[in-house]
């Protein structure tokens, strides 16, 4: 395992202290031996070929790109040419291999990064736990008895566990932010439509986002810059790239007006979650006690849109082979497919109203703070937990604070609060639409002040 950042790795490569092949071999060895069940496939031969190509370009004085020789992996819903896109399912194991890389994968490779494998996830991205019925649960590197979160659990665990410095995931209702928060790493859910989703297996077209995971804000920015840019194949028409990596110092010094969301966004939160949020709020001199009216309704609408659109997407497979689905996913998709049309229509109709509520707050604030989850990572297999003294479903509750935000497509960095030796807790740094720069400004300032940080997991002795 290596906890070197992407920046450190690429600098070492350019200074001739290592080769892309050597770095890739280290990553492949870690992926093959990893104890978290983060990987579902390792692309050894292709990765070594890509690494050799990077080394060859350096040898003749060419620049292989800003991520030269940096190993990365992707949630297994991204198309990788020559490989079947599983999307965490059994059903797609018989699908034809992808004929081209997803746009995000192609951009990472074009920047010199080396794809070493594919990562575990909740089936069809419908979940917050990555307890996949077909591939097994992904374990949290900070406590292997606990979940990594989901649905991009493999992506978060691989970064948290020091297998890789960068991974990609997707977020429809919280699926980047929740595993980032529970595993103690950084995750970016950009503005809806910012990053191309072409070649990422869909879940809810109206709500799907893709984004990176990293152990530092600077690495997150590096990956974000590489992933940006127009893509004529994406119907959301991503805008031209607006790179941030060259101005991180200026961003870190930028004045910010920060507000801390309460009400729905702290309802039922464990005391340590509120305490962690307060640490961040203090550091950013945030105004407390803000409410975002309609958050509970927005969460409910996102919940219904996901079931309805997801159910319709899977209608044919549900009709023919429902029992081949992960049971935890199947029953929700079937229920969604059976919903009357009016439910999804009402959920879509409420969306601009809630967006306008958020816009109203952003007239006074640059950043809004909220916890990522109500609790630290629950144990693997735990079905219910207590919130405010009442038993609630773990699977359905972990997204309570993330779903309202992705419902209206706002950019968010999920950042790990610096709590050495304690279970990871994440905070959402929420920015106005298309202002990822403000989320990065907050993350950089907090990181430089030591308020947020991704820690190495504790060393654990293997059982005798």
């Amino acid at each position: 395992m290596s906890f070197a950042t992407a920046q450190v790795l690429t600098t070492a490569l350019r200074e001739g202290r290592t080769s892309a092949r050597e770095t890739t071999q280290t990553a492949i060895a870690a992926a093959k031996a990893e104890p978290f069940n983060a990987f579902t496939a390792v692309f050894e031969d292709e990765a070594l070929a890509q690494a050799d190509a990077v080394d060859a370009r350096l040898a003749v004085g060419e620049n292989p790109g800003p991520l030269a020789g940096v190993p990365f992996a992707v949630k297994n819903l991204f198309d990788v040419a020559g490989h079947v896109t599983l999307a965490g399912s059994k059903i797609r194991r018989e699908a034809a291999p992808a004929t081209a890389d997803a746009t995000a994968v192609a951009r990472m490779k074009a920047a010199g990064a080396v794809l070493v494998g594919a990562l575990n996830m909740d089936e069809f991205a419908y979940g917050f736990v990555t307890e996949n019925a077909h591939d097994g649960p992904t374990r949290n590197p900070h406590d292997p008895a606990r979940i990594a979160g989901g649905s991009s659990g493999g992506s978060a665990a691989a970064v948290a566990g020091g297998l890789l410095p960068l991974t990609l995931g997707s977020d429809t209702n919280g699926s980047i932010r929740i595993p980032a928060g529970l595993c103690g790493v950084f995750g970016l859910k950009p503005t809806l439509g910012r990053l191309s989703r072409v070649g990422a297996f869909p879940f809810v077209h109206s709500l799907d986002h893709i984004g990176p995971f990293a152990r530092t804000a600077a690495d997150l920015a590096l990956a974000y810059d590489v992933l940006q840019g127009e893509d004529p194949l994406d119907d959301l028409a991503p805008p031209p790239a607006d790179p941030l990596s060259g101005r991180l110092d200026a961003l870190a010094d930028q004045p910010l007006r920060v507000g801390c969301l309460s009400g729905w966004f702290q309802q039922g939160a464990f005391p340590e979650v509120v305490e962690a949020l307060e640490i961040v709020a203090d550091a950013l001199q945030a105004r407390r006690g803000l409410t975002l009216p309609g958050a509970q309704a927005a969460r409910a609408a996102a919940f219904a849109m996901s079931a309805s659109e997801g159910g319709r997407l899977h209608f044919d497979d549900l009709a023919q082979r429902a029992l081949d689905y992960d049971p935890a996913v199947r029953d929700r998709l079937l229920a969604g497919a059976l919903l009357p049309d009016g439910v999804a229509e009402a959920a879509r109709r409420y969306r601009p109203a809630f967006r306008d509520e958020a816009r109203g707050l952003f007239e006074h604030f640059d950043i809004l703070l909220a916890p990522v989850t109500p609790c630290p990572a629950p144990p693997i297999g735990q079905a219910t937990m207590e919130l405010d003294g009442l038993p609630v479903s773990v699977r359905k509750t972990l997204g309570a604070y993330t779903q309202p935000i992705s419902y209206v497509g706002l950019p968010v960095i999920a950042a790990p609060v610096n709590r050495p030796g304690k279970p990871p807790i994440g905070v959402q740094l929420i920015a106005p639409a298309w202002r990822e720069d403000l989320a990065f400004a907050a993350a950089l300032r907090l990181e430089r002040a030591g308020v947020i940080a991704a820690h190495r997991p504790p060393l654990r002795r293997e059982p005798a």
């Binding site: 219904a304 049971p327 229920a335 059976l338 009357p340 049309d341």
Partner: protein
């Protein structure tokens, strides 16, 4: 109940959810395996409760805006 009948869905009692499941499943040609029925019914009831939180907040006859963040 028609596929677009939101208010009828919202007014389903717990005892009527299973009947809705059967009738909607037949209308759509989407069979629900016996092993899934309880789980699907439970999720339908949850979705009914969730729909109650947002369905009344907007004009049901208003056009649906093409969403932009």
């Amino acid at each position: 109940m028609s596929g677009g009948d939101l208010s009828a869905f919202q007014n389903l009692s717990d005892a009527k959810v299973a009947a809705y499941l059967d009738s909607r499943s037949a209308d759509l040609g989407l069979p629900v395996p016996e092993a899934c029925r309880d789980g699907v019914a439970e999720n339908l009831a949850l979705l009914r409760d969730q729909a109650a939180l947002f369905a009344g907040l907007t004009d049901p006859d208003a056009p649906i805006e093409t969403f932009a963040p």
